[in-house]
């Protein structure tokens, strides 16, 4: 018999909900079948932790006397976008200080960027604010330089246009020199292969047709509760899929938001990718309601079922060619080696399975303790199965 969000939330309120992690659900369904699992289990928790470049924070810096309308702003030397109302700015994860040498001495280290500013804010560390303005009758102040912490600013809202990619690529380098990419350092002649997905723990791979994840879904974001506000940019649900409906190439994405003031530095980490740039690593978790047998079957997804394309990041990717060297699965990737064009290649992840698993356990705990309730989407994502 099908369950509703209301019924599941009632059980959560009474402390009676049966909540399991995505890993546990795989075993339950394997042992008992999807039908029985759907009767027993109410919620499956999923999670992912990795670099998510399309992230950033809207900050309202608070008015100053005399008043000011920021024309340009910097936080610890990193430019923040100020083309909005008076003291609103947006600090993006990949933004770099004006004086960062970039890749002038190759490969650049990108020690500090927007992602690090965001981590410093979350950690409660002081951040240097500098701003300039042209001055108006109502906002006469022309410059400001002061130290702020997250406690001083009225609002800090993490607002990310593209996170939690449903599947991704495996990156290799077929050239004869080392390359530095957003998929990490890639050794020549396919010396290593890097992937970036939590595989069977990943939210959108546990709900491949977005039956339950949609606009308004309450999620775990950076240690607190956040929301999905839209399909993310580059959301592309119409890709080729396996028999079980799992996309074989990068597909759906989520746009998410949450209150940075409530987040924890454990789940919001600045990151530096040598030769590429700075970014933000973020922890996201999504609870999936087991409404029926179909949802139970979806959440039983295993790494060996999820196939992912191997792409050459030395030529094909930069040139925008859609060439695929082959398909592998996340079981092989997590076991540490794959075979590409007859060659055995050791694998490394950018997305941390261990941290993703921590998130599934943490979210499970929050729901069991009645601190986290599920929300029914107010609108479905494009490509969703009704």
């Amino acid at each position: 018999m099908a369950k509703t969000y209301v019924q599941i939330n009632e059980k959560i309120a009474k402390g009676e909900a049966v909540v399991v992690t995505a890993e546990e659900m795989t075993e339950i369904v394997a042992a008992e079948g999807a039908k029985k699992a759907a009767q027993e289990v109410d919620v499956v928790t999923t999670g992912t932790f990795g670099p998510m470049c399309s992230s950033g924070v809207f900050l309202n810096l608070g008015q100053i006397k005399p008043r000011m309308k920021f024309e340009k702003a910097w936080l610890s030397g990193v430019p923040a976008y100020a083309g909005m109302a008076a003291v609103d700015v947006y600090i993006g994860a990949t933004e770099l200080p004006d004086d960062d040498p970039r890749n002038k001495v190759f490969p650049g280290a990108f020690e500090y960027g927007g992602g690090h500013v965001i981590e410093d804010l979350v950690s409660g560390k002081p951040v240097r604010l500098r701003g300039i303005a042209y001055g108006t009758d109502c906002y006469p102040r022309r410059e400001i330089e002061k130290t702020v912490t997250i406690r001083d600013v009225p609002e800090a809202i993490l607002t990310n246009p593209r996170n939690a990619y449903q599947n991704y690529n495996v990156a290799v380098n077929k050239s004869d020199k080392v390359i530095y990419t957003y998929m990490g350092i890639l050794q020549p002649h396919m010396g290593n292969a890097n992937y970036c997905s939590a595989g069977q723990l990943s939210p959108l791979l546990n709900d491949p047709f977005y039956r339950t994840i949609g606009v308004g879904t309450r999620i775990f974001l950076g240690g607190t509760q956040g929301y999905v506000w839209s399909a993310g940019t580059q959301h592309n649900p119409g890709v080729a899929r396996t028999e079980k409906g799992l996309p074989k190439t990068p597909a759906a994405t989520l746009a998410v938001t949450g209150n940075l003031k409530e987040m924890s530095p454990e789940w919001v980490r600045g990151a530096s990718l040598t030769g590429y740039g700075a970014t933000l690593a973020l922890g996201i978790g999504v609870p999936i309601p087991i409404l029926d047998e179909e949802m139970a079957a979806y959440t039983a997804v295993r790494d060996e079922d999820i196939c992912v394309q191997v792409v050459d990041y030395s030529r094909d990717y930069p040139q925008g060619r859609n060439k695929v060297l082959g398909f592998v699965n996340y079981r092989q990737l997590r076991d540490g080696k794959i075979t590409v064009e007859g060659k055995e290649v050791p694998t490394g992840g950018l997305s941390s399975y261990a941290r993703a698993k921590d998130i599934t356990n943490l979210l499970k705990q929050m729901i069991k303790e009645g601190k986290f309730f599920l929300s029914e989407p107010v609108a479905q994502l494009p490509g969703a199965k009704a």
Binding site: N192, L273, P346, L350, R355
Partner: protein
């Protein structure tokens, strides 16, 4: 008794010579090969730990220099900070000596300092500055 960790670079003409054998037999040294690569038509590279009496080690190293082997001490110390590590595993395939390994059960990374030859490949690769070189 002293121990030294060294990177040895061999010119191509020395690659097929029984050099480590000589070190053991003639100089009474303990030679522990930590890593070795020989690329065709290029030089050979060995990372070794050489142990023995101070005098013997000095003589052994002098012998290597005479032969044309380039010696470089491995003095730097690599530190892994578990509290900063996110266990992403991206450093793992880069490490030539498997100093970083993954427990496949829970996908956590651990570091065996004794295997590390301070090549620094992992240091640049870590996005979270969890690996540091101490001079």
């Amino acid at each position: 008794m002293i121990k030294k960790r060294l990177v040895l670079r061999f010119p191509p003409d020395l690659i097929d010579q029984p050099i480590t054998y000589q070190l053991v037999k003639e100089y009474d040294l303990m030679v522990n090969i930590l890593q070795g690569t020989v690329t065709p038509h290029e030089e050979g590279r060995l990372v070794v730990e050489i142990g023995g009496e101070r005098k013997a080690v000095e003589k052994g190293l002098a012998y290597l220099s005479r032969l044309g082997v380039e010696l470089q001490p491995l003095a730097r110390d690599v530190h892994w900070h578990p509290a900063k590590c996110t266990h992403c595993t991206v450093c793992v395939p880069l490490c030539p000596t498997r100093a970083f390994t993954v427990s496949r059960e829970n996908m956590t990374v651990s570091f065996d300092k004794n295997r590390c030859i301070a090549c620094e490949l992992c240091v640049r690769a870590c996005p979270y500055k969890a690996i540091e070189i101490l001079f």
